[in-house]
Amino acid sequence: MTERGAVYDLGYAPYDGSRLGRRGARATLFADGIRRVLGIRRKARRKVFPWMLIVIAVVPSIVFVGINFFVPGGITEGASTNATHANFFVLNGAVALVFTALAAPELLIPDRRDGVLSILSSRPLTYVDYLSSRFASLVAVVGAFLIFPQFVLYLGLAATNTDGLFRGLVEGADALPKVLLVTVIYIIAYVPLGFVVASLANRKAIAATVYIAIVIGLSAVAEAVVANNVFAGGRWVALIAPVNTADAAAEWVFGQSSPESLLAAADINPGVGLVALIVFGAIGVAFSLYRYRSLM
């Protein structure tokens, strides 16, 4: 008699383990949001743009540190650590803007376009849970995008410190809380607006284009109004330009002054600009919530 394989129908195994309810659902959405933005476990072409932008954001820090290594004190000579961090924020701020323009639609539009929202609507989630989880994903990814090059810079500057690595780490440490604060400022400037546009558009490419157009358009309008003193009190229009305000606030936090900035030209304290960013951000979040209230 020969031995033969056998196929067993194992049937259906009921699940009697733990159920995490809303907490588990929110955590799942958050983690999925991060994977989605970075193209993880998606087709290769979905990884191209996010990772290309990450490389573009990090490479200048690495090059800067590398040159500093071969020419000790050459580049940073005369410039404070704070100034270096502030300059890199302004530089990476533009890249982060493009990154946000691509990331925000990725988080919201496919769920609506593919109908996945109808499944999520039947899960133990509210629309606030859904949006807050997606929002947290975007904040985490954009935050990491902004912080990572700064961290590379911090370690690189410490490593090339003429008094040794440890001394460099200690000397540069006072910039770290400022790095965190400025990252939050850029997030407030970029993310809520990205959510508003993504909550309205039906195509990712259109959402990204409209987002960048709005940001550039607001800067152009604000600069024109302030420069030409179009009407009485027109200088306050400077506050509608999120990128200019975030850049000025970043330099302000790092103790740098930029007389050619839009806020300086409008004679507005960067602290006031920061308050304006928070107000506009809150309005953006409220609008997105209002929009999704009828969708879920």
Binding site: G17, G21, R46, G115, I119, L125
Partner: protein, 301 residues
């Protein structure tokens, strides 16, 4: 009676257009069909029961939980297969099932295990690493069913589960639905294909333009006690003969329907035919299909 869901004077309107009118029904646990033409209010009812939309009037419960106040607890123990497209085309089936289980509150490890189990159950285990965008319509319907049961719900709502399927795909889907009851999962199937409901369900709720036509066990609804008789030639002598013998008879053209009460109606028909010299062409038990029931009750409104 343990109920899958109940409604009490439930109403809903989209603006000025009323989708449900004062619907009151109690549906026991088991496999229930929700039937009606397009626009009858089936999907609206399911969305109210899931707490996706709010009723305009009345109240509803699902598994004895109030849909207005206990939406999250309800959603933790029910599954939902929407009618339309609802799958992310850029994810593999395996990844999406893990995600679907996670959004239902299952821990990560359990979600992975359940995802694997349900994909095997619906026959997609060999295709689990393909992107959902590359799936055929039949495979997508199975994936939709899989996500609805991946968290082992107590009750699952299936909205038009056979829509767009070819005959063999439809048979497979109906087999799967029929098996769900044996897994301890109660099922509410919404469909306008009445044969699908007859094949898979024990109970039926008939809706028409947002109102309740009928609710009850499918056996009781579809198998009324009557005998249909077709004759060659004039039916009048036989009809008169049956009526004079006390039978309840209705006539439509040359088709005679005789109420089948406790007497031996077949003998009665035989004797009346012999006495009147009527030639019988066809005789059957006249079991009304669900479709006939639906049409008759709809016409009787």
């Amino acid at each position: 009676m343990e109920t899958a869901f109940t409604t009490d004077a439930l109403g809903h309107a989209y603006g000025r257009i009323a989708a449900l009118h004062s619907l009151s029904v109690e549906v026991p646990r088991g496999r229930t069909g929700l039937v009606g033409a397009n626009g009858a209010g089936k999907s609206t009812l399911i969305k109210i029961l899931l707490g996706i939309i709010e009723q305009t009037t009345g109240r509803a419960t699902v598994l004895d939980l109030d849909t207005g106040r206990e939406t999250i607890p309800i959603r933790s123990v029910v599954g939902y297969m929407p009618e339309g497209e609802c799958l992310p085309l850029d994810q593999t089936a395996a990844d999406f099932m893990v995600y679907a289980a996670g959004t239902a509150g299952l821990p990560r490890d359990a979600a992975r295990q359940r995802a694997s189990d349900v994909l095997t159950l619906v026959g997609l285990d060999e295709e689990r690493f393909r992107y959902l965008g590359d799936y055929s319509t039949g495979m997508k319907q199975r994936a939709k069913l899989a996500q609805a049961i991946v968290h082992d719900p107590s009750l699952v709502f299936l909205d038009e589960p056979t829509a767009g399927l070819d005959p063999s795909g439809r048979e497979e889907m109906l087999d799967l639905i029929a098996r769900l009851g044996s897994f301890g999962i109660d099922v509410v199937v919404s469909s306008h294909v009445l044969r699908d409901i007859e094949r898979t369900c024990d109970w039926v709720v008939m809706l028409d333009e947002g109102t309740l036509l009928h609710a009850g066990p499918i056996g009781g609804a579809s198998h009324e006690r009557r005998i249909r008789v077709q004759v060659n030639g004039d039916a009048t002598p036989l009809v008169e003969g049956l009526r004079s013998a006390g039978a309840l008879v209705t006539v439509d053209d040359r088709r005679i329907t005789v109420a089948h009460d406790d007497r031996d109606t077949y003998d009665l028909i035989r004797d009346a035919a012999a006495a009147t010299g009527t030639s019988i062409r066809n005789l059957d038990d006249g079991a009304a299909s669900l479709e006939e029931m639906f049409l008759r009750r709809g016409a009787g409104r």
